[in-house]
Assembly symmetry: C2
Homo-oligomer: 197 residues x 2
Protein backbone atom coordinates (compact mmCIF):
# COMPACT_ATOMS: atom_id res chain seq x y z
CA UNK A 1 0.00 0.00 0.00
CA UNK A 2 2.62 2.50 1.06
CA UNK A 3 5.18 0.86 -1.11
CA UNK A 4 2.70 1.00 -3.94
CA UNK A 5 2.19 4.73 -3.50
CA UNK A 6 5.89 5.29 -3.55
CA UNK A 7 6.13 3.33 -6.76
CA UNK A 8 3.32 5.39 -8.27
CA UNK A 9 4.94 8.66 -7.24
CA UNK A 10 8.23 7.62 -8.71
CA UNK A 11 6.57 6.46 -11.88
CA UNK A 12 4.71 9.75 -12.17
CA UNK A 13 7.93 11.68 -11.67
CA UNK A 14 9.63 9.66 -14.39
CA UNK A 15 6.75 10.07 -16.83
CA UNK A 16 6.55 13.79 -16.28
CA UNK A 17 10.31 13.98 -16.58
CA UNK A 18 10.17 12.35 -19.99
CA UNK A 19 7.85 15.05 -21.26
CA UNK A 20 9.50 18.06 -19.68
CA UNK A 21 13.10 17.06 -20.26
CA UNK A 22 12.32 16.21 -23.86
CA UNK A 23 10.62 19.52 -24.53
CA UNK A 24 12.75 21.88 -22.48
CA UNK A 25 16.02 20.05 -21.96
CA UNK A 26 17.91 19.22 -18.80
CA UNK A 27 19.08 22.66 -17.75
CA UNK A 28 15.90 24.23 -19.09
CA UNK A 29 13.70 22.28 -16.71
CA UNK A 30 13.65 22.99 -12.99
CA UNK A 31 12.80 20.40 -10.39
CA UNK A 32 10.04 22.63 -9.12
CA UNK A 33 8.29 22.52 -12.47
CA UNK A 34 8.37 18.74 -12.50
CA UNK A 35 7.25 18.43 -8.89
CA UNK A 36 4.42 20.92 -9.32
CA UNK A 37 3.17 18.98 -12.34
CA UNK A 38 2.86 15.73 -10.39
CA UNK A 39 1.98 17.47 -7.11
CA UNK A 40 4.82 16.14 -5.05
CA UNK A 41 6.47 18.43 -2.51
CA UNK A 42 9.96 19.68 -3.10
CA UNK A 43 11.34 18.00 -0.03
CA UNK A 44 10.10 14.60 -1.13
CA UNK A 45 12.05 14.49 -4.34
CA UNK A 46 15.21 13.29 -2.66
CA UNK A 47 13.35 10.39 -1.11
CA UNK A 48 12.96 9.07 -4.63
CA UNK A 49 16.17 10.16 -6.33
CA UNK A 50 19.60 11.05 -5.05
CA UNK A 51 20.06 14.01 -7.40
CA UNK A 52 18.66 15.69 -10.48
CA UNK A 53 21.38 14.04 -12.52
CA UNK A 54 20.56 10.50 -11.41
CA UNK A 55 16.89 11.28 -11.89
CA UNK A 56 17.59 12.23 -15.50
CA UNK A 57 19.55 9.02 -15.95
CA UNK A 58 16.49 7.05 -14.86
CA UNK A 59 14.19 9.16 -17.03
CA UNK A 60 16.28 8.15 -20.03
CA UNK A 61 15.65 4.45 -19.41
CA UNK A 62 12.00 5.10 -18.69
CA UNK A 63 11.77 6.86 -22.03
CA UNK A 64 13.30 4.21 -24.24
CA UNK A 65 11.48 1.17 -22.88
CA UNK A 66 8.15 1.79 -24.66
CA UNK A 67 9.95 2.33 -27.96
CA UNK A 68 11.73 -0.97 -27.62
CA UNK A 69 8.49 -2.73 -26.81
CA UNK A 70 6.71 -1.09 -29.72
CA UNK A 71 9.46 -1.95 -32.16
CA UNK A 72 9.69 -5.48 -30.83
CA UNK A 73 5.99 -6.09 -31.25
CA UNK A 74 6.23 -5.03 -34.89
CA UNK A 75 9.14 -7.37 -35.46
CA UNK A 76 7.29 -10.22 -33.74
CA UNK A 77 4.37 -9.94 -36.14
CA UNK A 78 4.51 -13.25 -38.04
CA UNK A 79 2.55 -11.88 -40.99
CA UNK A 80 5.16 -9.30 -41.93
CA UNK A 81 8.70 -9.51 -43.19
CA UNK A 82 11.18 -7.65 -41.04
CA UNK A 83 11.86 -4.79 -43.46
CA UNK A 84 8.15 -4.08 -43.76
CA UNK A 85 7.84 -4.26 -39.98
CA UNK A 86 10.60 -1.71 -39.58
CA UNK A 87 8.95 0.54 -42.11
CA UNK A 88 5.61 0.25 -40.35
CA UNK A 89 7.21 1.01 -37.01
CA UNK A 90 8.89 4.18 -38.23
CA UNK A 91 5.73 5.27 -39.98
CA UNK A 92 3.97 5.00 -36.64
CA UNK A 93 6.63 7.20 -35.10
CA UNK A 94 6.19 9.75 -37.85
CA UNK A 95 2.46 9.90 -37.22
CA UNK A 96 3.12 10.50 -33.52
CA UNK A 97 5.62 13.24 -34.24
CA UNK A 98 3.22 14.94 -36.61
CA UNK A 99 0.54 14.74 -33.94
CA UNK A 100 2.91 16.47 -31.52
CA UNK A 101 3.54 19.14 -34.16
CA UNK A 102 7.26 18.32 -34.15
CA UNK A 103 7.75 19.47 -30.59
CA UNK A 104 10.31 17.67 -28.50
CA UNK A 105 11.58 15.11 -30.92
CA UNK A 106 13.65 12.46 -29.18
CA UNK A 107 14.76 12.72 -25.57
CA UNK A 108 17.88 10.70 -26.30
CA UNK A 109 19.00 12.92 -29.14
CA UNK A 110 18.28 16.11 -27.24
CA UNK A 111 20.15 14.97 -24.14
CA UNK A 112 23.05 13.52 -26.10
CA UNK A 113 23.61 16.98 -27.51
CA UNK A 114 23.02 18.90 -24.30
CA UNK A 115 24.72 16.80 -21.62
CA UNK A 116 26.02 13.73 -23.45
CA UNK A 117 29.62 14.73 -22.83
CA UNK A 118 29.30 16.62 -19.54
CA UNK A 119 27.35 14.26 -17.28
CA UNK A 120 29.01 10.90 -16.68
CA UNK A 121 25.87 9.41 -15.22
CA UNK A 122 23.66 10.46 -18.09
CA UNK A 123 26.28 9.56 -20.66
CA UNK A 124 26.24 5.98 -19.44
CA UNK A 125 22.48 5.88 -19.36
CA UNK A 126 22.34 7.27 -22.89
CA UNK A 127 24.86 4.70 -24.09
CA UNK A 128 22.79 1.92 -22.62
CA UNK A 129 19.51 3.22 -24.01
CA UNK A 130 20.82 3.90 -27.50
CA UNK A 131 22.60 0.57 -27.70
CA UNK A 132 19.60 -1.39 -26.48
CA UNK A 133 17.55 0.30 -29.18
CA UNK A 134 20.20 -0.10 -31.85
CA UNK A 135 20.65 -3.79 -31.05
CA UNK A 136 16.96 -4.41 -31.59
CA UNK A 137 17.08 -2.59 -34.92
CA UNK A 138 20.09 -4.73 -35.85
CA UNK A 139 18.11 -7.84 -34.97
CA UNK A 140 15.36 -6.70 -37.29
CA UNK A 141 17.78 -5.94 -40.08
CA UNK A 142 19.48 -9.29 -39.60
CA UNK A 143 16.09 -10.92 -40.01
CA UNK A 144 15.53 -8.90 -43.18
CA UNK A 145 18.87 -10.10 -44.47
CA UNK A 146 17.89 -13.72 -43.87
CA UNK A 147 14.57 -13.08 -45.56
CA UNK A 148 16.42 -11.79 -48.57
CA UNK A 149 15.02 -8.25 -48.52
CA UNK A 150 18.06 -6.49 -47.09
CA UNK A 151 21.55 -6.38 -48.55
CA UNK A 152 24.09 -8.67 -46.98
CA UNK A 153 27.28 -6.91 -48.03
CA UNK A 154 26.85 -4.59 -45.07
CA UNK A 155 26.52 -5.87 -41.51
CA UNK A 156 23.14 -5.50 -39.85
CA UNK A 157 24.86 -3.78 -36.95
CA UNK A 158 26.43 -1.13 -39.17
CA UNK A 159 23.14 -0.50 -40.88
CA UNK A 160 21.42 -0.17 -37.52
CA UNK A 161 24.01 2.42 -36.47
CA UNK A 162 23.49 4.35 -39.66
CA UNK A 163 19.74 4.22 -39.24
CA UNK A 164 19.86 5.44 -35.65
CA UNK A 165 22.23 8.27 -36.50
CA UNK A 166 20.37 9.46 -39.57
CA UNK A 167 17.09 9.27 -37.70
CA UNK A 168 18.49 11.38 -34.87
CA UNK A 169 19.87 13.97 -37.23
CA UNK A 170 16.61 14.05 -39.15
CA UNK A 171 14.73 14.67 -35.90
CA UNK A 172 16.91 17.70 -35.23
CA UNK A 173 16.13 19.04 -38.68
CA UNK A 174 12.47 18.32 -38.13
CA UNK A 175 12.49 20.46 -35.02
CA UNK A 176 13.83 23.56 -36.72
CA UNK A 177 11.98 23.11 -40.00
CA UNK A 178 8.74 22.16 -38.25
CA UNK A 179 8.22 19.55 -40.91
CA UNK A 180 8.08 15.77 -41.19
CA UNK A 181 9.98 15.80 -44.44
CA UNK A 182 13.43 15.07 -42.97
CA UNK A 183 12.29 11.99 -41.06
CA UNK A 184 10.31 10.74 -44.04
CA UNK A 185 13.34 11.15 -46.23
CA UNK A 186 15.40 9.21 -43.71
CA UNK A 187 13.08 6.22 -44.06
CA UNK A 188 12.90 6.49 -47.83
CA UNK A 189 16.64 6.74 -48.32
CA UNK A 190 17.68 4.00 -45.91
CA UNK A 191 14.85 1.52 -45.42
CA UNK A 192 13.43 2.17 -48.87
CA UNK A 193 16.63 2.24 -50.86
CA UNK A 194 20.12 1.90 -49.38
CA UNK A 195 19.40 -1.12 -47.20
CA UNK A 196 17.55 -3.03 -49.91
CA UNK A 197 19.16 -5.67 -52.06
Amino acid sequence: MVLAKKQINKENLLSEGVQLLMQQGYHGTGLKEILDAVQIPKGSFYNYFSSKESYAAEVIQHYINPFIEQLDSHLQNPELDALTALNNYFNELIVELEKAEFKGGCLLGNLMGEIGDTSDLCQKSLQLAVNRYKDLLATGLKKAQMEGTARIDKSADDMADLLVNTWQGALLRMKIEQSAEPIKQCCNDLLGDYFRV
Copy 2:
Protein backbone atom coordinates in the same frame (compact mmCIF):
# COMPACT_ATOMS: atom_id res chain seq x y z
CA MET B 1 38.85 53.78 -31.91
CA VAL B 2 35.79 53.44 -29.72
CA LEU B 3 33.82 51.89 -32.48
CA ALA B 4 36.69 49.51 -33.14
CA LYS B 5 36.87 48.49 -29.50
CA LYS B 6 33.18 47.87 -29.48
CA GLN B 7 33.57 45.65 -32.50
CA ILE B 8 36.37 43.75 -30.80
CA ASN B 9 34.36 43.26 -27.63
CA LYS B 10 31.40 41.99 -29.59
CA GLU B 11 33.61 39.67 -31.60
CA ASN B 12 35.18 38.33 -28.40
CA LEU B 13 31.76 37.75 -26.89
CA LEU B 14 30.66 35.84 -29.97
CA SER B 15 33.81 33.71 -30.08
CA GLU B 16 33.57 32.85 -26.43
CA GLY B 17 29.88 32.13 -26.89
CA VAL B 18 30.65 29.61 -29.62
CA GLN B 19 32.88 27.65 -27.26
CA LEU B 20 30.75 27.82 -24.14
CA LEU B 21 27.36 27.33 -25.79
CA MET B 22 28.72 24.40 -27.76
CA GLN B 23 30.18 22.70 -24.71
CA GLN B 24 27.55 23.49 -22.09
CA GLY B 25 24.44 24.34 -24.03
CA TYR B 26 22.21 27.41 -23.93
CA HIS B 27 20.59 26.98 -20.53
CA GLY B 28 23.75 25.45 -19.14
CA THR B 29 25.77 28.57 -19.78
CA GLY B 30 25.24 31.75 -17.79
CA LEU B 31 25.99 35.20 -19.10
CA LYS B 32 28.30 35.76 -16.16
CA GLU B 33 30.50 32.89 -17.27
CA ILE B 34 30.80 34.29 -20.77
CA LEU B 35 31.42 37.84 -19.59
CA ASP B 36 34.03 36.75 -17.05
CA ALA B 37 35.88 34.84 -19.76
CA VAL B 38 36.22 37.90 -21.98
CA GLN B 39 36.48 40.34 -19.06
CA ILE B 40 33.52 42.47 -19.90
CA PRO B 41 31.34 43.77 -17.08
CA LYS B 42 27.92 42.27 -16.75
CA GLY B 43 26.21 45.61 -17.12
CA SER B 44 27.87 46.12 -20.50
CA PHE B 45 26.38 43.06 -22.12
CA TYR B 46 23.21 44.84 -23.12
CA ASN B 47 25.20 47.49 -24.89
CA TYR B 48 26.14 44.78 -27.37
CA PHE B 49 23.10 42.51 -27.48
CA SER B 50 19.44 43.01 -26.72
CA SER B 51 19.03 39.68 -24.93
CA LYS B 52 20.68 36.35 -24.31
CA GLU B 53 18.42 34.83 -26.94
CA SER B 54 19.40 37.26 -29.69
CA TYR B 55 23.01 36.87 -28.62
CA ALA B 56 22.74 33.12 -29.14
CA ALA B 57 21.17 33.70 -32.54
CA GLU B 58 24.22 35.73 -33.53
CA VAL B 59 26.59 33.17 -32.04
CA ILE B 60 25.05 30.58 -34.35
CA GLN B 61 25.92 32.59 -37.45
CA HIS B 62 29.35 33.37 -36.08
CA TYR B 63 29.87 29.65 -35.63
CA ILE B 64 28.92 28.45 -39.09
CA ASN B 65 30.82 31.01 -41.15
CA PRO B 66 34.28 29.45 -40.77
CA PHE B 67 32.91 26.04 -41.69
CA ILE B 68 31.41 27.41 -44.87
CA GLU B 69 34.68 29.11 -45.76
CA GLN B 70 36.66 25.98 -45.04
CA LEU B 71 34.36 23.78 -47.11
CA ASP B 72 34.28 26.32 -49.90
CA SER B 73 38.05 26.50 -50.12
CA HIS B 74 38.20 22.73 -50.47
CA LEU B 75 35.63 22.81 -53.24
CA GLN B 76 37.48 25.62 -55.00
CA ASN B 77 40.66 23.57 -55.20
CA PRO B 78 41.08 23.04 -58.97
CA GLU B 79 43.26 19.99 -58.50
CA LEU B 80 40.60 17.90 -56.81
CA ASP B 81 37.31 16.49 -57.95
CA ALA B 82 34.38 17.54 -55.78
CA LEU B 83 33.80 14.20 -54.12
CA THR B 84 37.43 13.99 -53.05
CA ALA B 85 37.25 17.58 -51.84
CA LEU B 86 34.21 16.74 -49.71
CA ASN B 87 35.99 13.71 -48.31
CA ASN B 88 39.07 15.75 -47.49
CA TYR B 89 36.97 18.42 -45.81
CA PHE B 90 35.19 15.95 -43.56
CA ASN B 91 38.45 14.20 -42.75
CA GLU B 92 39.74 17.55 -41.56
CA LEU B 93 36.71 17.91 -39.34
CA ILE B 94 37.29 14.46 -37.91
CA VAL B 95 40.87 15.34 -37.02
CA GLU B 96 39.66 18.46 -35.24
CA LEU B 97 37.02 16.53 -33.31
CA GLU B 98 39.58 13.93 -32.25
CA LYS B 99 41.86 16.72 -31.13
CA ALA B 100 39.03 18.09 -28.97
CA GLU B 101 38.51 14.60 -27.55
CA PHE B 102 34.92 14.58 -28.80
CA LYS B 103 33.84 17.39 -26.51
CA GLY B 104 31.21 19.78 -27.78
CA GLY B 105 30.51 18.35 -31.19
CA CYS B 106 28.48 20.76 -33.29
CA LEU B 107 26.88 23.89 -31.91
CA LEU B 108 24.09 23.69 -34.47
CA GLY B 109 23.17 20.12 -33.60
CA ASN B 110 23.32 20.75 -29.88
CA LEU B 111 21.16 23.87 -30.07
CA MET B 112 18.69 22.32 -32.51
CA GLY B 113 18.01 19.67 -29.91
CA GLU B 114 17.96 21.97 -26.92
CA ILE B 115 16.11 25.08 -28.11
CA GLY B 116 15.38 24.41 -31.79
CA ASP B 117 11.66 24.28 -31.13
CA THR B 118 11.33 26.63 -28.16
CA SER B 119 13.16 29.79 -29.25
CA ASP B 120 11.77 31.42 -32.37
CA LEU B 121 14.79 33.64 -32.79
CA CYS B 122 17.28 30.80 -32.55
CA GLN B 123 15.14 28.52 -34.66
CA LYS B 124 15.33 30.99 -37.53
CA SER B 125 19.04 31.46 -37.05
CA LEU B 126 19.55 27.69 -37.01
CA GLN B 127 17.46 27.31 -40.16
CA LEU B 128 19.57 29.90 -41.93
CA ALA B 129 22.86 28.44 -40.78
CA VAL B 130 21.99 24.84 -41.59
CA ASN B 131 20.56 25.73 -44.97
CA ARG B 132 23.53 27.87 -45.93
CA TYR B 133 25.77 24.95 -45.06
CA LYS B 134 23.56 22.39 -46.75
CA ASP B 135 23.35 24.44 -49.93
CA LEU B 136 27.11 24.54 -50.18
CA LEU B 137 27.27 20.77 -49.72
CA ALA B 138 24.65 20.42 -52.44
CA THR B 139 26.75 22.58 -54.73
CA GLY B 140 29.70 20.27 -54.15
CA LEU B 141 27.60 17.18 -54.76
CA LYS B 142 26.18 18.72 -57.92
CA LYS B 143 29.73 19.28 -59.10
CA ALA B 144 30.52 15.65 -58.30
CA GLN B 145 27.51 14.59 -60.34
CA MET B 146 28.72 16.58 -63.31
CA GLU B 147 32.17 15.10 -62.89
CA GLY B 148 30.64 11.66 -63.01
CA THR B 149 31.69 10.54 -59.55
CA ALA B 150 28.33 10.90 -57.84
CA ARG B 151 25.11 9.18 -58.73
CA ILE B 152 22.57 11.27 -60.63
CA ASP B 153 19.42 9.33 -59.82
CA LYS B 154 19.21 11.24 -56.55
CA SER B 155 19.19 15.03 -56.43
CA ALA B 156 22.26 16.73 -55.01
CA ASP B 157 20.01 18.61 -52.63
CA ASP B 158 18.50 15.42 -51.20
CA MET B 159 21.94 13.90 -50.77
CA ALA B 160 23.14 17.05 -49.02
CA ASP B 161 20.20 16.82 -46.62
CA LEU B 162 20.97 13.18 -45.91
CA LEU B 163 24.63 13.97 -45.37
CA VAL B 164 23.91 16.82 -42.96
CA ASN B 165 21.42 14.77 -40.98
CA THR B 166 23.56 11.65 -40.73
CA TRP B 167 26.57 13.76 -39.79
CA GLN B 168 24.60 15.45 -37.03
CA GLY B 169 23.33 12.17 -35.67
CA ALA B 170 26.81 10.67 -35.85
CA LEU B 171 28.15 13.62 -33.84
CA LEU B 172 25.62 12.90 -31.10
CA ARG B 173 26.74 9.29 -31.00
CA MET B 174 30.35 10.41 -30.96
CA LYS B 175 29.68 12.49 -27.87
CA ILE B 176 28.31 9.63 -25.81
CA GLU B 177 30.64 6.94 -27.16
CA GLN B 178 33.68 9.22 -26.96
CA SER B 179 34.79 7.78 -30.24
CA ALA B 180 35.33 8.94 -33.82
CA GLU B 181 33.90 5.77 -35.22
CA PRO B 182 30.35 7.07 -35.84
CA ILE B 183 31.52 10.09 -37.82
CA LYS B 184 33.98 7.99 -39.79
CA GLN B 185 31.24 5.53 -40.63
CA CYS B 186 29.05 8.40 -41.78
CA CYS B 187 31.67 9.40 -44.35
CA ASN B 188 32.34 5.84 -45.42
CA ASP B 189 28.69 4.95 -45.88
CA LEU B 190 27.60 8.10 -47.70
CA LEU B 191 30.55 9.73 -49.42
CA GLY B 192 32.35 6.44 -49.86
CA ASP B 193 29.46 4.29 -50.95
CA TYR B 194 25.87 5.46 -51.20
CA PHE B 195 26.56 8.66 -53.11
CA ARG B 196 28.90 7.05 -55.59
CA VAL B 197 27.85 5.92 -59.03
